[in-house]
């Protein structure tokens, strides 16, 4: 083999390696389609079209000329699921909806609105813009994920009564905190902020306005529906719910 030829082969091999590495990456990128949900086409005063309110009062409203989604805690009553809960549960879980219903009804402390379009979220990023308006007991805005047919879920939330981000889990009707962010971040009411949860295999991270708040190992597989989450009498607005999956 001549020297130039060896050099050519060496270069070709290296280039080929890079190309062969790039191919799966490009297919990953091609499959990681970001889906962004806003409320510009929804009717003000009505429930959102792309989200199913299961607990609490969720209504599209106008904010500075833009349609956003409001969860109105003034109307939340302890233990009262959203109207038409059974039909909504059937719409997303079909024949499996009974167990979901039982769990939701038993502990309707957490207003949730489930995204209709995302069938299953596993790895990737979910972000949402939120604005806290009020709430005496709680002033929450959160991202719901890993929602199972039996009503179990995970949620990452910011609460303006505690000024922190927390990762919660809800299993068999019992809620417990998985990880509390150690940084206190007082946010002003009436201002827009961004919450993001990032799932990569065995790691769950949560960001508030781009700053890492939670970094938590997670050994169980995450696979379920996603949506929005608050607590009790929170009044919060949401916009730009964005899901970017990472193909496995």
């Amino acid at each position: 083999m001549t020297r130039p030829y060896r050099a050519f082969v060496a270069i070709a091999l290296r280039t080929g390696s890079l190309v062969s590495l790039a191919l799966p990456m490009s297919s990953v990128l091609a499959q990681a389609t970001t889906q962004r949900f806003d409320f510009t086409k929804d009717q003000v005063g009505r429930e959102p079209v792309q989200f199913l309110p299961m607990v609490g009062n969720w209504v599209v409203t106008k904010d500075e000329g833009r349609n956003v989604l409001l969860v109105d805690g003034r109307i939340w009553k302890k233990g009262q699921p959203a109207g038409g809960l059974a039909d909504k549960a059937r719409a997303i879980y079909g024949a499996q909806h009974e167990e979901f219903l039982d769990n939701v009804k038993a502990f309707a402390y957490f207003p949730i609105a489930v995204n209709r379009e995302i069938e299953k979220f596993e790895d990737g990023d979910i972000s949402v813009k939120f604005k806290m308006i009020g709430g005496t007991l709680d002033r929450c805005a959160g991202i719901l994920f890993n929602l199972k047919p039996n009503g179990d879920w995970l949620a990452v939330r910011f609460n303006g009564t505690e000024d922190n981000v927390v990762l919660w889990k809800f299993v068999n009707g019992v809620r417990s905190s998985v990880k509390r962010g150690t940084t206190n971040v007082p946010l002003e009411l009436g201002t827009w902020n961004e919450l993001r949860v990032s799932v990569r295999g065995a790691q769950v991270k949560a960001y508030l306005n781009g700053e890492l708040m939670i970094d938590q190992p997670w050994t169980e597989p995450i696979s379920g529906k996603v949506g929005l989450w608050t607590k009790t009498d929170s009044m919060s607005e949401f916009d730009a719910f964005t899901v970017t999956p990472v193909a496995r």
Partner: protein, 234 residues
């Protein structure tokens, strides 16, 4: 020489236009002067609407005679320390405080210590434990101790719906926020500025203050501000 009618009308019109022009020039200054004091209550808005949702919610909470509680002795200790009569006629929380300051002592130190201990264990006198009157008495006592005021607020929030009055939580939270230099969120804390009324500190997200007040069983901001202003002259 008598003035002709037409000339009189003409001069009167010029005079009226001049007055109107003067008012337009002076109006911004008048408005700015108002802005340096508390937002002005609209005429007639000192009226407390007893049919409003906030009033009815408070009344239902404080007047519930069917309620049961589990700790009678703690309830009695709190009522005695607060000097609060459980059979007192319902008097609504009207959502304003003038020159309000927490702390200052003046209540049974043993009861304050008892409440501090409960708070340390993440407990608090809730409606289930001591009834509505006991909850109110604990709230009154907590305000005599600055540190206890803060923990009382958090424990009342954590206790969950129905275990305390959101109006009382709102008052504590605004007082606390003023204390630490944050904006109020319900606009309940006022102070004197000479003969004028001023909001203590500032109000966060004023556009939604009445929405928050409604959720906290408080009257609209304009009503509370009017009542606070009326108190200045007493």
């Amino acid at each position: 020489m008598t003035m002709r009618i037409e000339e009189f009308r003409s001069r009167a019109m010029v005079g009226a236009l001049a007055m109107a022009g003067l008012l337009v020039l002076l109006l911004p200054s008048l408005v700015a002067a108002q802005g340096r004091t508390a937002p002005r209550a609209r005429s007639g808005s000192c009226q407390v609407d007893t049919t409003a949702e906030w009033y009815r919610s408070q009344r239902a909470f404080y007047s519930d005679r069917t309620e049961r509680w589990s700790n009678d002795s703690l309830r009695n200790v709190l009522l005695t320390a607060a000097g609060y009569d459980a059979n007192a006629v319902f008097a609504p929380e009207l959502g304003w405080r003038l020159d309000f300051g927490v702390g200052g002592g003046g209540v049974d130190e043993g009861v304050v210590t008892l409440l501090r201990d409960m708070a340390r264990k993440r407990q608090w006198p809730t409606r289930s434990l001591v009834g509505v009157a006991g909850v109110h008495a604990a709230w009154l006592i907590a305000q005599h101790d600055s540190a206890l005021t803060v923990t009382a607020m958090h424990r009342m929030m954590e206790a969950g719906p129905g275990e305390s009055s959101p109006a009382e939580v709102a008052i504590l939270e605004d007082a606390r926020r003023v204390q630490i230099g944050r904006g109020q969120i319900h606009g309940t804390q006022f102070r004197r500025n000479g003969a004028a009324l001023q909001l203590s500190g500032h109000l966060e997200d004023s556009a939604h203050v009445d929405m928050r007040r409604e959720g906290a069983w408080l009257p609209p901001y304009s009503v509370s501000a009017c009542l606070a202003k009326a108190a200045l002259t007493r």
